[in-house]
Symmetry: C2
Subunit: 207 residues, 2 copies
Amino acid sequence: MKLPGKTVERLSEYRRTLLGCLEEKKNFIFSHELAARLHITAVQVRRDLMLIGYSSVLRKGYDVRELIETIGTIIDSEVTLNVTIIGIGNLGRAVAGYFRGKRSKLCLVASFDTDPHKVNKVISGVRCYPAPEMENIIRELDIRIAIITAPADSAREIAAEAVRCGIKGIMNFTTISLVVPSWVYLEEYDMITSIEKVAYFVKENKI
Amino acid sequence: MKLPGKTVERLSEYRRTLLGCLEEKKNFIFSHELAARLHITAVQVRRDLMLIGYSSVLRKGYDVRELIETIGTIIDSEVTLNVTIIGIGNLGRAVAGYFRGKRSKLCLVASFDTDPHKVNKVISGVRCYPAPEMENIIRELDIRIAIITAPADSAREIAAEAVRCGIKGIMNFTTISLVVPSWVYLEEYDMITSIEKVAYFVKENKI
């Protein structure tokens, strides 16, 4: 069963929130509590968990550890998926920081850059390779996912090259929309869109 | 008329794409071309533009400059909105980079940090103030929007302080979900959710 993208997003958010609960030593949570933390409805939470076959709600709520594990069996790969960051500037380094010790089934194994001051160094915990070596390294390290954090004007070229090298999923953080073949999964995020949305509602609220 | 959030997001994306067209010296665009660049349908594009009262489609498509201007009158504030970035690490610097010379109605006027090596310096084109001065600076510079790029464990405290200082809109890039009063607009983005979504579809496509 392939889940809708929005459901996968919410499952990922549930897990993140549940991991936060563990840090707070909170071992049980009700659907309405989980919902409130994510600004959605309890009905939505229950529907999503039903969809992945999770129904063991106790009197004191869901068992946080068990639910984290169940979500993992659904959204994580059984084998580790290797990831690369292309463009290790400020944004690339920020993304690299999120990987450290956090997602056991996603492994950041390489970054690429064209800057001679960066290549062949370990930056934010991951080795940076020269961009022209992309093909060799992607195949050698069996990298499946590319996160593009390079300057916008190089994004199309980089994506085409990544696809040619066998990348199967692309996360595009540049401000340019990409086009990829149907067998490659593409997700795009442009932070300016989110910031403009905030500005719009601040303006409309006349506050 | 207050537009739905998703419509505002798309209008922002249309503008970004149209600005890209100008750089390519493309002065006219059909709805289906704009739609294709954003992986949505032409019907969606036409519906959104109808909603904002734009209907002047010519034989050769929409006039790119005119459409950029129309979108601006809808989503931009008439007066400049001042913005701050709280936490000027890698992610904060990446966000600051996006502002430079790009959004005339959004002005990045200050950043805040607790690191003594950063405060009272200009970082990524914006002056970094010590976090304890937040209240004074936010009021003095009339800052309305705060972008939180600080470490997750300080996000709740920072948001509470920002709200107390009169911030009306928050863009939260940390991995912690926030709760804000009803008069503050909150938008949240966690990059790990997007990356986990890519991983899920790579896994499910068995590629």
